[in-house]
Amino acid sequence: MGFVEEREEVEIECIDALSTLQYIKYSTQSKDIVSFLYLIRKLLQNCNAYKNFYVSNNIQFQKNGTATVLDKLYISEENFFDKKEDNEVDEDVAWTMQEVLEEICQYLGLTAVADGDSVYFLDYDAIRHGRNSYYKYSVDDDSAPTLETISFSKTIKAEDYSESGATLSLDNVYNKVSVQADLYTFDSVLPDLFSNLQNITKDYDEQITIPQQTGFDTGMYGTFVKSKIGGDNSDNTNAIGVVVKPMEVKDPDIIVVKYYNSPAYRFFKYDSNGRDITDSVKGLNYTDTMFMCGATAAKFFVKRGKDFYLGNSNSEIFDNLLSFNDVNKIDFTNYIMFINPFGSTTPVSNHIPNSAITQYPFLETTMNDTALVFGGENSYIVISGSIMFHEFNYYPYPVSKYWLGNSGTMRAGEGYLLCKLKWNNLFWNGTKWTESESTF
């Protein structure tokens, strides 16, 4: 198991003490003829967990008898060792204590079940006929047993188990019931960010499709492609191919990108004056996102390539660049892109400072509030994911790792997401729903 996240959900498997007998070999100083009582006591002492055991008194030597029988039944310990081959010792051929216990129970027609600090040797036929008398023995000493009446009945009602993965089956035998309660399994409270996306990629971008002269040393160029797979003629299948040279060095980043909206989420966008322009933005291209302040869903393919410039049009140059860099398949990765550029270049910077971020949400669900409320005591709601941060202004894509270096290190006060969870008029504060707003 590897620890990846800051908090991990760890499952710890526990077994009952009876199960530990499978790891213990039967051993004895001398292979005597011993009573069943001695044998059971010895096995349960090795569990180191039980104080008492109860044995149904349905097994008798005489009709209508009530005497104890375990102390009157004897067996040789030799039975618990297989035949030894050459150079083998008792330990090599000894049964496990679990095997010994199961053999005893099979012979007596009993079923051993642990409950709390006791083990019950049940006779289902006796229970069925209303014989509920048991002899109670102590595990640790030889005190005389006492006769007790033990019974249990349960009427299974609807509130005894819940849906969400619970199974309840009842066979003809009355004890064949398995119930696994699975009460709080909200695997996902919010809708999938990347389901039912709507492509809003424009099919034009004047800045990147300007025909280049000879090669290019700065800036970028690009082209447009349309997917040939999926959708009908009315679907937007645009994708933009862009070649960018961050830091104006020789080798470029090769990018293919598509931009999306989602019916389940609102990706806010703001102009340089801080006005919400989300509804007026019907499409995006690469140049738009360079000067955008806000969020969008996007699919990116990014590869740092070797510089190669040959062709008579941007499309041809782009194709040749892909071929030169052995790119014959484009695999997209889903992103939610948050952009908050800074700087004083034209247009005027629209950077939202930390002090104002609560006034400019970037991402919000558009869910109907009529679903059931979740949460309550001991609820733990986790927002998980991975984040990539860089501070390269006007490079709105996940830059190839080559460029990140130390500049990609997230510093205190930067690159964090402020979130709040609201349901109707209530806010989640980490432990309960309140009317006061809380952020995380």
Binding site: I12, Q106, V113, Y184, E377, N378
Partner: protein, 75 residues
């Protein structure tokens, strides 16, 4: 170390899960996961008359620590 966590059932009855290890008596509160405590009785056999019925439990905790002392046969 004694690890202690609690969860509530559908009727808001609180159950406490305690894991005691051999590394001292200091108490630490842990947060239980989405399936905090699940018990299961061995039901591989199709007949009721199996000689021994074993039980297992799975405890789910959310933790930032390794808690190595839990992974012990004596915990």
């Amino acid at each position: 170390m004694i690890y202690s966590g609690s969860f509530a059932d559908i009727n808001n009855k609180v159950y406490k899960v305690t894991i005691t290890t051999n590394s001292g008596n200091q108490t630490k509160t842990v947060t239980l996961g989405g399936k905090p405590f699940v018990t299961e009785m061995d039901s591989d056999d199709k007949v009721i008359y199996c000689p021994v019925k074993y039980q297992t439990a799975t405890v789910s905790i959310i933790t930032p620590d390794y808690n190595f002392d839990i992974y012990s046969p004596k915990a």
